[in-house]
Amino acid sequence: MDDEIAIEKCKNGDREAFRYLVERYQRQAVSHATAILGGREDAPDAAQEAFIDAFRALKQFDNSRPFYPWFYVLLRNRCFKMAARKRETESLDETVIVAPNSPAQSEDIHALENALRSLDRDDREIVTLKYFDGLDYNELAERLQIPKGTVMSRLFHARRKLQAKLER
């Protein structure tokens, strides 16, 4: 089954088709929510709520578009609502946003995790989407609902802030 068929079936109320979408995208969704929320442990709740929003809104979804960028907008909205509700950030010992490519790099990875967590939400989001998902500026503009020129300047300043935090 591919996304297009699954979404068509979901529009007719097929739960198994929606299960396919959830299982396909849940890891990505929770990871993105974790990055947006700065490592807070309610990221799975945000992803769960976003999937339920998606199920209810799928009838209006244009099947010619890819699912995940559309879903990401719902996920962001849910994360923003959660961020507004609970402001405190849990202090965690383990890294929840980044993982090393090899075990030898753990010190740098912890520094990167802490620097990312201390960034503003918008800066953290754009930097992680750029580096971890490899999105180009047009894709970033679509995901973040901002013009391409804004993507460029926001990314530039977010990178500079991250550099400064890594230097400390």
Binding site: N77, A111, R168
Partner: protein
């Protein structure tokens, strides 16, 4: 990169001399990201040859890129489906506004009737479009005061 080497190699404050430097650095970043840059490679090269601060900044950008090359996004292993499946039948919590609309219209009609003997009929007639509009909203089941949280999706 060994642990802590990034920190050591980036000592010194970040600079931003003027808008020209910012344009150059934006162009360097865009080019490194594979995007179209505002300035040509020749313009960037000419600026870099004369600006030590921007050369330093460019090295910093490259070092940040190399830090991210060692990292990846941590993926969750959580299974959301059982919780989601249990909630799909629940109706979304929305404010039931119809009773308020009906009560409001009845109050307006009552007030209108109450005032009819005292005022000229022409004044009361002014309220008729409002009543019709309210009744239309009830008929169409449309709440004009609803905040649409999905506006972004309708683009």
């Amino acid at each position: 990169m060994p642990g802590g080497s990034y920190k050591r190699s980036l000592k010194g404050s970040l600079h931003m001399k003027d808008s020209n430097c910012e344009n150059v650095l934006l162009s360097i970043m865009a080019a490194a990201d594979g995007e179209s840059a505002q300035l040509s490679p020749e313009e960037i090269k000419a600026h870099l040859s004369a600006c030590a601060d921007c050369r330093e900044e460019m090295v910093r950008m490259q070092q940040l890129d190399s830090v991210f090359q060692q990292a990846t996004r941590r993926e969750s292993t959580i299974d959301l489906w059982p919780a989601i499946n249990g909630r799909l039948d629940q109706r979304p919590a929305t404010m039931n506004w119809q009773p308020y609309a009906v009560v409001s219209i009845l109050l307006v009609v009552y007030k209108l009737i109450e005032m009819l003997p005292e005022a000229a009929p022409g004044w009361a007639i002014n309220l008729v479009p409002l009543i019709i509009f309210g009744a239309l909203l009830v008929f169409l089941r449309e709440n004009p005061f609803r905040i649409n949280s999905e506006l972004a999706l309708e683009k």
